[in-house]
């Protein structure tokens, strides 16, 4: 039966997202490569957005379209958001999952989902 389990289920579903969100957000805020993009934002709103992002990257239920991703990041692209910043986010995501004891094989699948949004996020 375990072969039919989705990635989201394997990771532990919503409970896993809840466990990851604070750790992930802390990593992002203390990452000098990207922390400046988070200055002055409302931390609670941002935490909810991080949760949406993690739910999507974990293969969970979401309704985000490529267009939503473009709209949501357009103001950051104007401020110079580029590939190196997306790399940093994906790295922080992997480090978060490693800290939670998630297997490398699953981490690679999460990273691949995050990777699939790169062109939309960077508005290309």
């Amino acid at each position: 039966m375990s072969q039919q389990e989705s990635l989201y289920e394997k990771l532990g579903g919503e409970a896993a997202v809840n466990a990851a969100v604070d750790i992930f957000y802390r990593k992002v805020l203390s990452d000098d490569r990207i922390s400046s993009f988070f200055e002055g934002v409302n931390m609670e709103t941002q935490a909810a957005k991080q949760k949406s992002f993690l739910t999507m990257a974990f293969g969970g239920p979401h309704n985000y379209s490529g267009l939503d991703m473009r709209r949501g990041h357009a103001h950051l692209v104007e401020r110079g958001l580029n590939d190196s910043h997306v790399d940093a986010v994906i790295e922080d995501l992997g480090a978060t999952l490693r800290e939670l004891g998630v297997k490398e094989e699953l981490i690679a699948q999460v990273a691949a989902i995050a990777e699939s949004t790169r062109n939309d996020v960077l508005n290309r």
């Binding site: 805020l29 931390m43 949760k51 949406s52 739910t55 239920p61």
Partner: protein, 328 residues
């Protein structure tokens, strides 16, 4: 079929339709993003005594749940629901209140006790708006605790050239009737998890909500450690020190640390900015509940520091006292 009532309009909810779809289909501008109950962009509030389904409150902070907030995109009620957007000001009626007493707590902070002419359902730490006239009002936090105190208690700091605070300090008299509206705000104590540690950090009249929250926590039987850090530049800015030291003697789980950021720090006071002192005392905030009230810069810095020191975002409650731009 359930009906959704918004701003005096009644909309019939379609089968399997969410409250969000029902309202946006009819042109109500409810903001939304993820449409799956996660991002909290479509936050709304049930009013008029109606309660939202539990499933539509998943992931919300306890303080929001208790005030009947819900996520419209995952809200499928079986019964009628009256709803409002968080910014809809006219959710609450203006009610008159009589000034019962006025007393200076220190050279710049006035204690104001108000008796409402109609019952007001509030929690210690929330705020009300007090109106000088129809168009000019300011927000003040509640230091009183429902069921413990007969009246609403405010601590009003006199701002330089402050229009409303100047009026309260100089012209308001006991017996006078004022107009108030409220309550609002989600910085208050929620029952449950009674053994969790509480750390409360405030500057100036930011002590008002914290004093209410602490006494509310005691009245609800909180057993975990409670640490209050109150900061000011010098000793003149502190107040209620006697009452707070009495609480320390009364409750073994309570500690009060007055902090002075100017020079010349006498015995019994901690030296430094209040949030620096607090985070030195409790370097690891994992599993602590954090309350931050007062100066906006302090609140902003302390919020980030508390989060980085291990406090979970859902456990951080903050109320920044922004000074109205039109206060001069």
């Amino acid at each position: 079929m359930a009906n959704i009532r918004y701003a005096k309009d009644n909309f019939e909810l379609g089968e399997n339709q969410s409250v969000l779809d029902c309202l946006t289909d009819r042109g109500v501008p409810v903001p939304f993003s993820c449409r799956s109950g996660v991002c909290q962009t479509c936050l709304m509030r049930a009013t008029g005594g109606t309660k939202p389904p539990e499933a539509s409150q998943q992931g919300l902070k306890d303080t929001l749940k208790l005030q009947n907030y819900f996520l419209a995109c995952v809200c499928h009620p079986d019964t009628d629901l009256e709803v409002a957007l968080p910014d809809d000001d006219d959710i609450q009626a203006v009610i008159p209140a009589t000034v019962k007493s006025l007393k200076l707590l220190n050279s710049e902070i006035m204690y104001v006790a108000l008796e409402c002419h109609a019952p007001i359902d509030y929690r210690a730490g929330q705020f009300i708006n007090l109106f000088q006239d129809q168009s000019v009002g300011r927000s003040y936090s509640l230091a009183s605790v429902p069921h413990e105190d007969d009246h609403l208690h405010l601590h009003v700091r006199r701002l330089p050239q402050g229009r409303v605070s100047g009026w309260i300090h100089e012209e308001l008299r006991p017996g006078q009737t004022v107009q108030i509206r409220g309550p609002g705000g989600d910085c208050f104590y929620t029952p449950g998890n009674a053994e969790q540690g509480l750390v409360l950090i405030g500057t100036g009249s930011g002590l008002a909500p914290l004093y209410g929250i602490i006494r509310d926590a005691f009245s609800q039987g909180h057993t975990g450690p409670i640490r209050l850090f109150h900061g000011s530049r010098d000793q003149n800015g502190l107040y209620l020190t006697g009452e707070l030291r009495d609480l320390v003697r009364q409750y073994p789980n309570f500690d009060y640390i007055p902090c002075l950021s100017g020079g010349d720090v006498a015995h019994h006071f901690a030296a430094g900015r209040v949030h620096d002192v607090a985070f030195r005392h409790i370097p690891n905030l994992k599993n602590w509940r954090v309350f931050l009230c007062g100066h906006p810069e302090m609140v902003k810095t302390a919020k980030r520091n508390a989060f980085m020191a291990g406090a979970s975002m859902k456990d951080i409650y903050a109320d920044a006292f922004n000074v109205s731009q039109s206060s001069t």
